[in-house]
Amino acid sequence: MIRMMFRRATGGRWPRVRSDERLSCGEVGRLLQRYLDGELDGAAEVDALAAHLDECEGCGLEADTYRRIKATLEARRTPVSAETVERLRQFGERLAEH
């Protein structure tokens, strides 16, 4: 509990999560989005979080839902027109020639 309060107060910087640490559901909730985005700083945090998600049905379900949301949003990524990219690249290259 105290460890969690310190982590919250320091934005998760201290004390660092150890890979064999058993995280609480609250801590997992705080780290989950960064985990799903590949933005967690340390491998220890990633390991501890992955272990919790494997064992905890509730957090595992939440993680799956957020993964699906992320995948659905990612699928909305319409490709930019290759023709426009090429036109802008040529524009940049012409600029550099000046």
Binding site: D37, G58, L73, R77, T78, L88, F91, G92, A96, H98
Partner: protein
């Protein structure tokens, strides 16, 4: 432009054109404006390349893009409508394969529709971050550069934006929570 500057421009700026265009499309929500915005950004980057130290070119360019966007908006109407062509294209890209008639696909489609609806209901601060990170694939640091906000703000807006989406999915009954499953509220 010196030979060194030209090499730096080719090395750091030109390869980022596609990312710049994608982000510009999210910021302007309009295809023609996005192309104009990238052109202006390239011109500004060209003028500033001699002062660029070569570190984090994408973040540097996204900052220029954001400032250019703000300056352009000061001279024009603040909010632009979405490009109808983009919307029509999106509709045309909806799944039409045989899988679409499978019952489990209906659940997927409902999920997708609800995500779309929830995204549209997000207010601009949340929507912008979700667009840049989830749809355009930027890192938190890159999104912070593109929007001119601190990294912590990107994280909190993203967290809250996704939570709102998640809540809407729960209300629509397409993504129950564990507590719902336990109490038999799932479908």
């Amino acid at each position: 432009m010196t030979a060194d500057d030209r090499a730096a421009f080719d090395r750091y700026v030109v390869p980022e054109v596609e990312v710049l265009l994608r982000v510009a499309r999210s910021l302007t929500r309009n295809r023609a404006d996005a192309e104009d915005l990238v052109q202006d950004t390239l011109i500004r980057a060209y003028r500033a390349i001699d002062r660029f130290d070569g570190r984090y070119p994408r973040a540097w360019l996204l900052t220029i893009l954001r400032n250019t966007h703000i300056n352009r908006n000061r001279r024009r109407r603040p909010e632009l409508l979405r490009d109808p062509d983009v919307q029509l294209e999106r509709l045309a890209q909806s799944p039409t394969d045989d899988d679409a008639i499978r019952p489990d696909r209906f659940v997927d489609l409902e999920f997708d529709v609800e995500v779309e609806r929830a995204l549209d209901s997000l207010t601009s601060p949340f929507r912008d971050v979700v667009d840049l990170v989830d749809i355009d694939g930027l890192s938190y640091a890159e999104a912070a550069g593109a929007l001119g906000i601190p990294l912590g703000t990107v994280m909190s807006r993203l967290h809250r934006g996704r939570k709102k989406i998640r809540e809407q999915l729960r209300r629509a009954g397409v993504a129950p929570t564990y507590a719902d499953v336990q109490t038999g509220r799932s479908r």
